[in-house]
Subunit: 158 residues, 2 copies
DNA sequence: TATTGTTATACTCTATAACTATA
DNA sequence: TATAGTTATAGAGTATAACAATA
C-alpha cells in the first residue's frame, strides 16, 4: 500500500476527474489557453490583452474619462493609469483636459492608434476563428450567453 | 465635434459591443467573477485556487511526483515548489523520497489534509451551485464540453 | 465632502535560466 | 546525457491606502 508511488510513477495520466466536474477549473484552463494564444497574436503589434481592450474601448467611446474606462474594464483606477500612460506615450491615444470638469481627462484614439488597432483587430479576429473554429455559430453564441450569465451571478455576490 | 467629451461624461454606459463579440473577452470577465468568488470561498480554509487544486490532485493520485503534478496543473515546476512547500509545511501533504528513483518525491495527502479538503470541497461545491445556479444541467455540461474543446484548440497552437 | 487622477506599495501568478543530485 | 527538484529572478496583473487638484 505504501508502494503507490511506484504505480503513480508509471501511470502516464494523472486523473483530474474530480476537478473536471467544476466549471471554474475548466474555465481557467480554457482561458489560459486562449489568453496565451492571444498574447502571441498581439505581440507583433506590441499590444497585450489589456492595452488592446483599452484601445478598442477608447475607439468606440471617444472622449470617455479614465474612470469610465476603468469601470468598463473592471480594472482599479490606479492600474489603469499605467495602461493609459503607455498608449499615450506611444501616440496611440490623446489625453485632453475637459473644460467643464478640469479633474477629468478625455481619451481619444489617434490616427496612428486607429491604424494599429485596425490591424490588431483583424489579427484578433483570425485568432478567434482558429481558437473557436471547432464551434458552430449557435454554439459560440450559446457560450457567450452562458458566460455572461455567470459573470452576472458573480456581480451579485461581490 | 470636439465636444464629444461632454456627451461621454453624461453617458452612463460605455459601449463594449465590439469586444462582446469576442469569446476571449467574455471568458475573461466570467472567469474573473468566478475566481474572485472562489477566492472568497477558499479564504476561510486558508487555501487559494492553486493550493486547492494541488490538494485535490494529490488526494486523487496518491504517490504522484511533483513533475506529474506540475504537468497536470499546467504550472511550471519552479512555481509548483512553493505550492508544495506550503502544503507540506502546513501538514496537509507529505513529501517522501522514492527508493526506486531517489530524485523524485512521492506526494500524499495527510489525514489533516483530507479533513481540510473535505470541508473546502463542500464549500467549493456550494460556490459552484451559486455561480452556476442560473444554468440548466444540460447547459452546464455543454459549457464544460465547449470549454474543453477550446482548451484543446489552444494546445494545438502552443 | 466627494471625485479624478496619481503615487507608492504589495501580493499573486506566471516564466526562464541555471544549479544539484540523481539516473 | 537527461530528468527531478530547486533557487533566484523578473514580469505581468491585481488590490489598497493615501495624496493633490478640482468639484
Amino acid at each position: 500500500m505504501p508502494d503507490d508511488a511506484a504505480e503513480a510513477a508509471k501511470r502516464p495520466h494523472i486523473s483530474d476527474a474530480t476537478l473536471r466536474g467544476l466549471v471554474g477549473y475548466n474555465m481557467k484552463r480554457a482561458f489560459m489557453a486562449v489568453s496565451a494564444d492571444l498574447a502571441r497574436t498581439l505581440a507583433p503589434f506590441d499590444l497585450r490583452m489589456l492595452t488592446f481592450t483599452a484601445l478598442t474601448l477608447v475607439a468606440d467611446n471617444p472622449g470617455l474619462s479614465q474612470s469610465q474606462l476603468a469601470q468598463a474594464m473592471t480594472v482599479e483606477r490606479p492600474n489603469l493609469v499605467v495602461i493609459v500612460d503607455e498608449l499615450e506615450t506611444r501616440g496611440l491615444i490623446t489625453r485632453d483636459r475637459v473644460p467643464t470638469d478640469r479633474r477629468t481627462y478625455a481619451l481619444r484614439i489617434t490616427v496612428e492608434g486607429a491604424r494599429l488597432l485596425a490591424g490588431a483587430a483583424r489579427a484578433v479576429g483570425a485568432h478567434e476563428n482558429l481558437m473557436m473554429g471547432g464551434l458552430a455559430k449557435a454554439e459560440e453564441a450559446a457560450l457567450i450567453s452562458t458566460l455572461n450569465r455567470i459573470e452576472a451571478s458573480g456581480k451579485g455576490r461581490s
